[in-house]
Amino acid sequence: MGRFLALCTLLADVLGLAASYVAGACIFPAIGSILPGWLSWLRDLCVHLYQAPLFWMSLIPSMPHALPLALIHHPGLTWGLVYLCAHLWYLTRYLWRRCRETDLARPQPGAPGGRRWEIVQRRYADFREALERFRPEIPLKTPPTFRFFERKNHRDARAELGWRGRVLVIDQALLSPERQQELAPGLAHQLAYYNSEDLWFRSFLNCYPDGFLWVQCISGICLWLPTLVKLCVWPTVYWRGRVLVADRFAYYCGQGYLLYRHLREQGAVEERRSFWSPDPLRAERIEHLEALLGSEFAWMERQGIAQPVPPLAQERHRLKGG
């Protein structure tokens, strides 16, 4: 589905370019023509501000003269060019952020490697072991390496587990031996994105702005159109469902119960979600995991391999019920 949505985003992008062209070619001249006479100075100022840089541009010897002239006669082209430049800026910014690793440390691979490296590799081995209980086989793709970071203060809003491009980024605290129960389900959940096309689609969407800028809206640079699709449509249409799919993958990796318990522990916190949030409600995730775990348990009961009920638990349950 990610590929189709990427195509839709590209279509929205082309629409944004066309809308920018129309804004420059028709809308702003039309606004200029309907201005009252006492505001004619404003129109002249705008025309001057628009034409002056183009005039100076035409004085550059290496610049072909046709370009500034074309831009003067067809202001829509200018808007289109500005749109493309804005796009290029966001793309460069994303690539720069992705490549910048000033705050990230590398683990030491090897056999055996560093402590953190070994902890993560052991989790991968656990996942592979758990995936063997399903046929056809689920090949687990794991990132060749990862990075970890140290949270300086509480204001650091980075997620404990996440991706920067195709690099897995983990909070150093999560790699401590005491927090393995939190690392394992989170890691399995994140690996679902790596094993599907979601990571690629997310990287693609990251080339677009992360929010709306009022300058873009009033200047007629319609980059807000693909941004609108990215921030308001895909989270509700696509990403919410993908979180549930990633939970299912975590369950396949044998982390269903831990994830379930982790989510239940968070249940005490009041749950709030914005309308455009990409996350499903926690109750929904818990329900989904309950169904998965329950189905497998029922299957195990039918096969006669479900764990026998310890007498103590049975007694406690009876007492609770009574």
């Binding site: 589905m1 990610g2 590929r3 189709f4 055996p112 402590r115 070994e118 902890i119 052991r122 656990d126 072991e129 758990a130 063997e132 209980r133 399903f134 046929r135 056809p136 086989e137 689920i138 031996p177 005491e178 927090r179 393995q180 129960q181 394992a184 094993n195 599907s196 993908r242 799919v245 299912r248 993958f249 396949y252 044998g254 982390q255 269903g256 119960y257 831990l258 379930y260 318990r261 239940r264 309950e290 775990l293 329950g294 497998e296 348990f297 299957w299 195990m300 009961e301 096969q303 006669g304 391999i305 479900a306 764990q307 009920v309 638990a313 049975q314 349950h317 009876r318 019920g321």
Partner: protein, 227 residues
């Protein structure tokens, strides 16, 4: 159906080509390629790609369905307003060469729809199935053996009771239907044991459990503790 499956296998290279046996297939294939270009190959590739993942195939098929609908609408538009598009046709391009190319490109728009159709006729997507692991098979055999033992014991006892009842002319109670005892725990508690791969996190300052090797490796603070 058989032909379609064989064609697909031939395209994929899963079946070795036998010219004597496969010539009707090859003939059909040549005809289809001449008519529609690489449409069939692309459809086969799409079907294989969608069926290639056993856990995320639903999303892939959903995407293929969305592509199919979109491309069908595009193809319909191209056919309906062909006059509008033909006016942009470059006059320098010779019709004899370019029209077939254009036709093949148009046919490619139907590849997702054809992939869906082929999946309907010859499903290649296999949903996940839970299988018994070797340890679980051993456990199952143990359970079955113990159940057999219990049944044998029960039947011996029943025979003894019947014999005693016959002796005393008392009608024996009718054997009640055996019911499987349902696990009384809530599902998340009951499931804790098989899913629980990692050991529970120890409280700070407490000693690690000496019984678990993995436990000890994970909880070590120094390199000497880990290895």
């Amino acid at each position: 159906m058989k032909l379609l499956r064989h064609l697909h296998d031939l395209c994929k290279g899963e079946v070795a080509l036998d010219l004597h046996a496969d010539w009707p297939c090859l003939l059909v294939m040549a005809g289809i390629v001449a008519l529609t270009g690489p449409l069939v190959f692309l459809a086969c590739a799409i079907q294989d790609w969608c069926a290639g993942t056993s856990w995320d195939y639903e999303d892939r098929w959903r995407g293929t369905r969305a592509f199919a609908v979109t491309f069908l609408v595009v193809a319909l538009l191209l056919v309906l307003v062909r006059g509008f598009f033909l006016q942009f046709w470059p006059p320098t391009l010779s019709a004899l060469f370019w029209y077939p190319v254009f036709w093949w490109c148009l046919c490619l728009l139907f590849s997702p729809a054809l992939a869906l159709f082929m999946e309907r006729l010859d499903p290649r997507t296999r949903p996940l199935e839970r299988i018994l692991l070797p340890a679980e098979v051993a456990q199952q055999q143990t359970v079955v053996a113990s159940e057999k033992k219990m049944t044998r014991l029960k039947s011996t006892r029943t025979k003894q009771v019947t014999a005693q009842a016959n002796e005393k002319d008392i009608v024996p109670p009718s054997p009640q239907q055996r019911k499987t005892k349902r696990d009384p725990r809530p599902i998340y508690e009951a499931w804790a044991v098989p899913q629980h791969i990692l050991p529970p996190a120890p409280a700070r300052g407490s000693m690690p459990s000496p019984s678990s090797k993995r436990d000890r490796r994970d909880e070590g603070e120094s390199l000497a503790d880990i290895f």
